[in-house]
């Protein structure tokens, strides 16, 4: 199980390699893209300026350094979709990432782009971005047929769900999971909003919107019901804050690294056969990247040294230095403490999973 680290500058490469990165990923947005589409249309889910290399020369230097250390480099081309007008340039960039700069894999989410690249016979692997929102084994078969050899699973999957996917996908399909930094209250692949700075990410913007909850039946609120709904909204906003506002964009104070993580799930991922652990944050500062990598490396090292699962988890929490959020599980991507070895979720109440019987006592039109 490899440690995959992000970068957005040539000068970060040596630091990441020296501190345990076993795979690297980055984006590269040339001036040509920005001239055509401006900074508002993102080539790869990150701002051209904030989260990307900007020249092929820099990309080549990153890959050369990494290859000297026998570390592969993966390049993001993971917009949810590309238009017909964009696609020729995107395919040309893919050719150059691989042929000119030597990228080892491309990270893709648009099935149309996967189809286009199939005709190119590029000498690189194709990884499926989490933006493709691959939630099940059948989707993995679909993308396998398009040439994908690694799938990055969304953070919204639970550990039992991930285990079932890994088992069903088999050893010929590598599975990559998120392990540190940033999160999304929505499914990234089904969130069709912008993160552009002119308005900010929809989720973080949501925290500032004025909001009102209503009862659809039109019935009056029961005692305490309205207050419970208001508290729920407050908690939801707070959860968004934990997932996003305190994540990649913030440095952290001293040794404390804010933001969510899945460090306690590392033993579980090792046991089920996950291929790679993804640290989020192409746009983060070099210091934050270093802190993130050291955290993950420390936990993985403990795992590789043969510590038990509980010992690895205790170690993870001890070096996280955020017990107030860590212990109750507020920062967790995954509910590791519930039943991490299970492969079945508790059965839902069948009476509640129907479209018919449980509608409100009165509804519009009744």
């Amino acid at each position: 199980m490899k440690i995959l680290a992000p970068l957005n500058g040539v000068d970060e490469t040596e630091m990441l390699l020296a501190n345990g990165a076993e795979e690297l990923y980055c984006g590269m947005v040339p001036d040509e893209w920005v001239e055509r589409y401006t900074g508002a249309v993102w080539l790869n889910r990150r701002s051209p300026v904030g989260g990307n290399l900007r020249t092929f020369a820099d990309l080549g230097r990153v890959i050369e350094q990494a290859h000297r250390a026998a570390v592969p480099v993966f390049i993001t081309l993971n917009a949810q979709t590309y238009t017909a007008g964009q696609l020729p340039l995107v395919v040309e960039l893919a050719r150059r990432y691989v042929g000119e700069a030597g990228a080892d894999a491309l990270i893709i989410s648009d099935p149309g782009l996967l189809m286009a690249l199939a005709e190119e016979n590029l000498s690189c692997a194709l990884h499926l971005s989490s933006i493709a929102a691959t939630l099940n084994s059948s989707a993995i078969e679909f993308f396998r047929s398009l040439g994908v050899r690694r799938v990055i699973l969304p953070r919204s999957l639970t550990l039992p769900e991930i285990a079932r996917i890994v088992t069903t996908a088999g050893p010929q399909m590598e599975i990559e999971t998120f392990i540190l930094n940033d999160g999304c209250i929505f499914e990234e692949g089904n969130c069709l909003t912008t993160h552009h700075h002119s308005v900010g990410a929809f989720c973080t913007n949501l925290v500032k919107m004025s909001s009102e909850t209503v009862k659809l039946s039109g019935n009056p609120w029961r005692e305490g019901e309205e207050e419970a709904a208001a508290k729920l909204l407050d908690d939801f906003r707070r959860r968004i804050g934990v997932l996003t506002n305190s994540a990649c964009s913030e440095q952290g104070a001293g040794a404390v690294l804010p933001g969510p993580c899945g460090l306690c799930a590392i033993p579980f991922f090792e046991r089920i056969g996950v291929a790679s652990l993804k640290i989020v944050g192409r746009e983060a500062s070099a210091m934050r990247k270093l802190m993130s990598l050291r955290l993950v490396r420390s936990v993985v090292a403990r795992q590789r040294a043969g510590a038990s699962e509980s010992e690895v988890q205790e170690h993870a929490q001890s070096i996280r230095l955020a017990p107030a959020r860590c212990v109750p599980g507020e920062m967790c991507y995954y509910e590791w403490e519930e039943n991490p070895s299970a492969t079945e979720r508790p059965a839902k109440n069948p009476e509640l999973t129907t479209i018919s019987e449980s509608r409100p006592a009165s509804m519009p039109g009744d």
């Binding site: 017909a84 059948s138 209250i185 308005v199 908690d235």
Partner: protein, 308 residues
């Protein structure tokens, strides 16, 4: 051009005639102003030619998958009304696919022409491999055109940079690659949300039949459902897969984009269950509805309320 109706619960099937006569009656009270224009178009169209298709199910949330009993009862009711059925399916985990497989098997056994609307490539793969008799339709969640109402009106404005305007095209369907891919699976119809620039699009150019939902579209969705955590405390709130009591059937939250200098300040978002929805301005909606047939829309799907 045909009209279809999203029959989001059995009440709408039981009261089908009332729904056609007075569609606004079945809308959430606080949303009537947004549904009124489309309801008027729909009612008029239904008088001239009653809809022959009902969409059932929900394409946003796996927790709302029906039991086989309730699903079969609903389908029988609709078939008894001589209606054809489109089954809307959500993004699904493997557990969700297990549940869907039961429903697909039952549908396949009925020997009727049924559409399965897939919003997950895994559902496409499953139906294609195991239930070839079911007709696949690409759902609106796989139309990845950015539609954030906070910025899209600005991106579509005549004075916006050409590169930005060009990026607002319908989600990859303008490329031969995606067309080829979904054609390979026998997909002949694609569903779309009504986008701010939909009134300017000519759907004749697409090699698919286009079905559009009116009057609301979705902005974002996911597995971290706010309202399903109403009965849960502490850090277990807002986790994927929490036991669902379908609180989305009883509550909805409206959010207003504010404190911005942009002309889109005041835009409202409607959160129901795990999904946020938007409505087009009335003028844009009217323009789209009046020109839909001429622009090549094959089917309009009327949503009596937020589709949860």
């Amino acid at each position: 051009m045909e009209w279809a109706v999203h029959v989001r619960n059995p009440v709408l099937a039981d009261r089908w005639d009332d729904l056609l006569a007075d569609p606004l009656r079945f809308c959430e009270p606080h949303l009537k102003e947004f549904h009124s224009p489309a309801a008027g178009f729909f009612r008029q169209a239904a008088r001239q030619s009653p809809p022959r298709r009902a969409c059932v199910g929900n394409e946003f949330c796996e927790s709302l998958l029906p039991s086989l009993d309730s699903f079969s009862v609903l389908c029988e009711k609709l078939w008894n009304k001589q209606l054809e059925i489109s089954f809307l399916t959500p993004p699904a985990t493997d557990e969700g696919l297990d549940a869907l497989r039961v429903l697909f098997a039952w549908l396949a056994r009925q020997g009727r022409a049924v559409e399965v609307v897939f919003n997950d490539w895994g559902v496409l793969q499953l139906v294609h491999a195991e239930f070839p008799g079911l007709c696949l339709v690409r759902g609106r969640l796989l139309n990845k055109t950015m539609r954030d109402p906070r910025v899209v009106p600005l991106y579509n404005a005549p004075n916006a940079p050409a590169g930005i305007r060009a990026s607002m095209q319908p989600a990859g369907l303008d490329t031969p690659f995606l067309r080829s891919l979904i054609s390979r699976y026998g997909v002949a119809t694609v569903e779309m949300d009504l986008l701010p620039n939909s009134a300017d699009m000519d759907f004749h150019e697409l090699p698919f039949q286009v079905a559009c939902y009116v009057p609301c579209g979705f902005v974002t969705s996911g597995r971290h459902c706010m309202i399903s955590s109403l009965h849960i405390e502490g850090s277990q709130r807002f986790r994927p897969g929490v036991p669902c009591r379908q609180e989305c059937r009883e509550y909805s939250t409206t959010h207003t984009f504010s404190a911005s200098a942009l002309s889109t300040d005041g835009t409202r978002f409607f959160q129901r269950g795990n999904t946020f929805f938007y409505y087009l301005e009335e003028k844009a909606l009217q323009g789209f509805l009046q020109g839909a047939a001429e622009r090549g829309v094959a089917r309009l799907i009327y949503e009596p309320g937020l589709p949860m």
